[in-house]
């Protein structure tokens, strides 16, 4: 049987998804289910002076209404509510005080017999506020920024950045801003909670069932073993479901109070303040170079917003330290408190914002130097990590540049802006570099080989869309020598062995490695069992000469003699063979700089009269170690590219700073790209053989595909029009 790895494989959950049978959090069917609906604050800051629920209580179907006045005061046994993704500070706790920390904060929960009744009653709640002045824009208060990291942890300047910049013969200095953006996954956050005796079960939309389990256990002061969190399908999250949202705790609270299962689904409007967002950022980049384009100094400052109660940060300028060879580098990163909910990681957090600024600035420098922007990047190629001198475990970025350029036709590009046309449209070509760390975290998995010849793999991972179900199934099948059809992978359930958070593009590396190792271990045990008995054909045959192919143990090179896993188990009087395994990242990793890389090439066509920009072509050249499933990996890169289009051209959460209120908390006013905004997207996988990163050679791709795209688009827009837009998104009003 040829290896499954690297073969385009259809999603194992494909049938479930195209037939509507895949069940998401809100879709589990419970007797006596009551519906919860949140009422949100109308002001951004202050306190609730009074709240009148009398009209709402009288509305038909209302079972109970919870406000800060009558909600049970829960134990909250951990200051961070055991949220493994919580930044520093105090987490927001819904209905536990009269304080208003942000506009559209939950102030009441109505529980009623039906959704319609709950929604209506929530509208009847009347609150009065003692209002305070709020600040929700960082631009007027940049001076209030405080270092995102304590001085001892913050990266120190490398070399003499200020001096080198001052003395550099060629310089660029520019400021860039990115507005708040929202994840806007298609599935709204939803929870269904019910108690049976003292056991809490929750169906929840989450990227980390263990986190929600621990969170609820700590809030209710009960053992973690008494909470089950189930989340078999996640309808997109992109970071938005990393932290437990308020609804999960409120559903559990309400369910216990009314002794019925309670479901709370956020409305699209409510989602804007339910789970966080990409922070607003201001950045300033200064680059000094010699006449040949060699970077002499890079100084990258970034300021992002956080809430009043938590210190969210995402390492915005961090990639600048390692992505190019430059002797003098300084990155300063600050955060500013605003009267908004806390931001949260959103696809390629930090990196995509930081790289938008850096990669735009490099493009600006290229025009100043009259050097091809791709060439300029090659001139400053980092052969080893300039930050600490470590070698890269693997880095095929150079190949990404060349393969991508060739595929894209970069050599036909004319350097001058406004030099390429397609009829009445201006054509622009832009490039940018992408990078993302190749993270891996400890992960547990369990494998059960069954006498019926199938394998069950279990790990409390999540699949918000990248194809975890499929990839892990492939890895297990490949390692065990079973056809994919004989392997079943269960995830999304806190009763399964613990997996790390489904974020940071590390699921395949973490869970995949654990599963691979577990499969190897169980196979070893099977070999051992197969050798038992005098008549065994494998007696005295060492492990390294045995293999399992198509469910059959045999001697390498002797396909004729085989023993099925089923028979081996039966011979040994076993119904199944189970193996629990905890994996940890390879220690060797510490000796290397480890990252995935990509080169992203973009073509835009601009209707200059009308100010409209269309991205007509994107080529993503991607070096992310070994590709498990190119079909789903391509989809990841495609998704990253589409996100890049959104960030560059259409996405912006509008806030009326007078009220501190988000004004487009919907999908009509907040423009995620539509089908017509997206044309050709090609992926070239430049594979890297990398056994240091992990034995699978996997680096991860979900974030990588987005990182360079917004800058590449802005660069292409400049190339097309000669207009440099430094404030995203590039909407028609900025092009007129």
């Amino acid at each position: 049987m040829a290896s499954l790895i690297g073969k385009a494989t259809r999603r194992v959950d494909g049938i479930a998804k195209v037939t509507g049978r895949a069940k998401y959090a809100a879709e589990f069917n419970l007797t006596d289910l009551a519906h919860g609906y949140l009422a949100l604050s109308a002001v951004a800051k202050g306190r609730i002076a009074s709240i009148d629920i009398s009209k709402a209580e009288k509305a038909a179907g209302v079972i109970k209404i919870f406000t800060h006045k009558n909600a049970p005061k829960l134990p909250f046994s951990d200051p961070q509510d055991k949220d493994g993704v919580a930044p520093g500070g105090k987490p927001f706790r819904a209905l536990q005080s009269d304080q208003i920390m942000f506009s559209a904060q939950p102030i009441a929960l109505v529980v009623a017999e039906t959704f319609e009744q709950a929604r209506h009653a929530a509208r009847l709640i009347e609150a009065e506020y003692e209002k305070e002045t709020s600040e929700t824009d960082i631009l007027p208060i940049l001076g209030k920024g405080v270092p995102a990291e304590p001085a001892e942890r913050a990266p120190k300047p490398r070399g003499n950045p200020e001096g080198a910049f001052r003395d550099a013969p060629v310089k660029i200095e520019a400021e860039y801003t990115i507005p708040i953006e929202h994840h806007n996954a298609m599935e709204p956050h939803a929870s269904i909670a019910f108690w049976k005796d003292d056991r809490l079960t929750v169906f929840d939309k989450t990227q980390w069932v263990y986190n929600v389990r621990n969170h609820l256990a700590s809030i209710f002061g009960i053992p973690e073993g008494k909470v089950d969190v189930i989340s078999p399908f996640v309808g997109g999250a992109f970071g938005g479901a990393l932290r437990p949202a308020a609804n999960v705790m409120l559903a559990a609270m309400a369910a216990r109070e009314i002794k019925r299962p309670v479901k709370i689904v956020y409305s699209r409007r409510q989602l804007a303040t339910a789970h966080g967002y990409r922070p607003q950022t201001w950045q300033k980049v200064r680059i000094g170079a010699d006449e040949k384009g060699k970077f002499l100094s890079i100084i990258h400052e970034a300021i992002g917003n956080t809430s009043q109660f938590e210190t969210y940060s995402e390492g915005t300028p961090g990639t600048t330290r390692s992505i190019y060879a430059c002797p003098n580098v300084q990155t300063d990163y600050k955060i500013v408190k605003t009267d908004l909910a806390t931001p949260l990681y959103m696809r390629a957090p930090g990196a995509v914002s930081g790289m938008f600024a850096l990669e735009s600035a490099i493009d600006e420098l290229a025009y100043k130097l009259k050097i091809d922007p791709l060439e300029l990047r090659l001139i400053n190629y980092a052969e080893t990590d300039p930050e600490d001198g470590k070698p890269f475990s693997s880095k095929a970025l150079r190949e990404c540049y060349s393969e991508g350029a060739e595929r894209f036709g970069w050599s036909k590009r004319k350097l001058e802006p406004r030099s390429m046309r397609d009829g009445p449209l201006l054509v622009g070509w832009g490039v940018a570099t992408g990078t993302w760390g190749a993270y891996q975290a400890p992960s547990a998995s369990r494998i059960t080989l069954k006498a019926d010849g199938t394998a069950l793999i279990q790990s409390a991972a999540s699949d918000m869309g990248p194809g975890t179900y499929t990839t892990i199934t492939m890895i297990a099948a490949d390692t065990l020598g079973l056809p994919v059809e004989k392997v079943r992978f269960e995830l999304g359930d806190s009763r399964l062995p613990e997996a790390p958070v489904h974020g940071g593009s590390m699921t395949t590396a973490s869970v995949g490695s654990s599963v691979q190792e577990a499969c190897r271990n169980v196979l070893k045990k099977m070999f051992e069992l197969a050798r038992k008995g005098d008549a065994s054909p494998f007696k005295n045959v060492p492990d390294d000469q045995l293999e399992c192919e198509n469910g059959q143990i045999r001697i390498k090179g002797k396909p004729g003699v085989g023993l099925t896993l089923t028979e081996v188990l039966r011979r040994n009087g076993l119904e199944k063979l189970e193996e629990m395994h905890n994996s940890a990242p390879n220690k060797e990793r510490d000796k290397y700089s480890i990252a995935s890389h990509g080169a992203q090439f973009v073509e835009v066509k601009v209707d200059e009269d009308l100010g409209t920009v269309r991205v007509t072509r994107i080529v993503e050249a991607t070096a992310a170690g070994r590709i498990m499933n190119p079909a789903t990996a391509h989809s990841q890169e495609m998704g990253g590219a589409v996100w890049g289009i959104g960030m560059a051209l259409t996405e912006e959460t509008e806030i009326d700073h007078r009220y501190g209120r988000m004004m487009n908390p919907n999908l009509a006013g907040y423009h995620v790209p539509a089908n017509a905004d997206v044309r050709e997207i090609e992926t070239i996988f430049v594979e890297e053989e990398d056994k240091i990163v992990n034995d699978l050679g996997v680096k991860g791709m979900g974030e990588l595909g987005m990182v360079g795209v917004p800058a590449a688009i802005a660069n292409a827009v400049f190339h097309a029009t000669g207009r440099r837009v430094r404030d995203l998104p590039i909407t028609p009003d900025k092009m007129i």
């Binding site: 259809r10 999603r11 494909g14 479930a16 998804k17 195209v18 037939t19 049978r21 069940k23 998401y24 809100a26 069917n29 419970l30 007797t31 039906t114 959704f115 994840h183 298609m186 599935e187 709204p188 079960t201 078999p232 309808g235 997109g236 699209r268 190949e399 393969e403 019926d452 869309g465 056809p483 059809e485 079943r488 269960e490 999304g492 008995g533 008549a535 054909p537 004729g560 099925t564 011979r571 190119p630 079909a631 789903t632 391509h634 990841q636 495609m638 998704g639 990253g640 590219a641 589409v642 999908l667 995620v672 790209p673 089908n675 017509a676 997206v678 044309r679 070239i684 996988f685 594979e687």
Partner: protein, 287 residues
């Protein structure tokens, strides 16, 4: 020589030899198929097209649900009557849903989407925005794609509703469903039922010669149109996909629409299969 090796004969039995063609199903899957109402010959056909891994995903959630619910149990028909009793402005409505006649007593405020999801357990139709801004709730009513989130259930008297659950012909997937799987036209899967219902209805619209904003000649007499990629993109723009699967969605629809294979747009750097990509690009430029 017997390929099994003579000396093994007394060691193992005939039936232990793996027959790769033969699909054996697990207990969980058996349960699932029972639950789905797929028996006999149907079961064999269904298994022919669904990988066990895929089936096991279905089994997983079914089992998870049953395990999780424990004694709590699922909502039964008696609940529906109970609910109706508590409603103000109840409206009785009879409609055909996926070919079955359904009689419901609904709150006048209940949308078709909520009736499907909350009352009929047809949760394939998704609630993405509940305001007509995303298309996840798209169903086909009397042959046309519409948004079930902006349709009051009360207005559906006598209507014929097809949801994602009703597209497959028994256990045989609709060609559009198959094409979406083949071209990986989804990731998280949440917009997918809406995309597919929308695409299925779009095929009829194209046949009827309906125009779009990007159609070249509006004045032309309506007759069956061959949709270019840009036409598909425009006409599918009412279905947002946050995962960004659009190019794959277009590929799936195009394949069903034209009956011709559509090439993939990824490659390994060392690969030499560039020709198909070139032809794809040329075609696109023509269109």
């Amino acid at each position: 020589m017997d390929k099994r090796g003579e000396h093994l004969e007394d060691w193992m039995n005939e039936e232990d030899w793996v027959e790769p063609e033969e699909r054996r199903i697990t207990e969980d899957e058996e349960k699932l198929l029972d639950e789905l109402g797929i028996f006999g010959e149907s079961r064999r056909r269904f298994l022919g097209q669904v990988s066990a891994a895929g089936l096991s995903v279905l089994a997983l959630q079914l089992i998870a649900e049953q395990k999780a619910l424990g004694g709590v149990g699922g909502r039964g028909p008696e609940d529906a009557a109970l609910i109706a009793e508590k409603l103000e402005n109840a409206v009785k409505v009879v409609m055909q849903i996926n070919g079955d006649k359904k009689t419901l007593e609904v709150d006048s405020r209940m949308t078709l989407l909520d009736a499907l999801r909350e009352r009929l357990q047809l949760t394939g139709s998704k609630k993405g925005c509940d305001h007509g801004q995303c298309g996840a709730c798209t169903v086909i009513v009397d042959g046309r794609r519409v948004l079930s989130c902006l349709t009051l259930a009360a207005t559906c008297e006598g209507k014929n509703v097809t949801t994602i659950e009703g597209l497959a012909n028994g256990d045989e997937l609709h060609p559009m469903q198959e094409a979406f799987i083949k071209h990986d036209g989804f990731q998280c899967g949440y917009c997918t039922p809406g995309q597919i219902c929308s695409a299925v209805a779009l095929m009829v619209e194209a046949k009827n010669g309906e125009a779009s904003y990007v159609s070249e000649n509006i004045q032309a007499k309506p007759r069956a149109v061959q949709l270019s990629d840009d036409e598909i993109r425009e006409r599918m723009s009412g279905n947002l996909c946050r995962c960004g699967a659009y190019p794959n969605i277009v590929a799936a629809i195009k394949e069903v629409h034209t009956g011709k294979e559509v090439a993939q747009t990824w490659q390994f750097a060392a690969g030499d299969d560039l020709a198909s990509l070139e032809s794809l690009r040329e075609k696109d430029e023509e269109g």
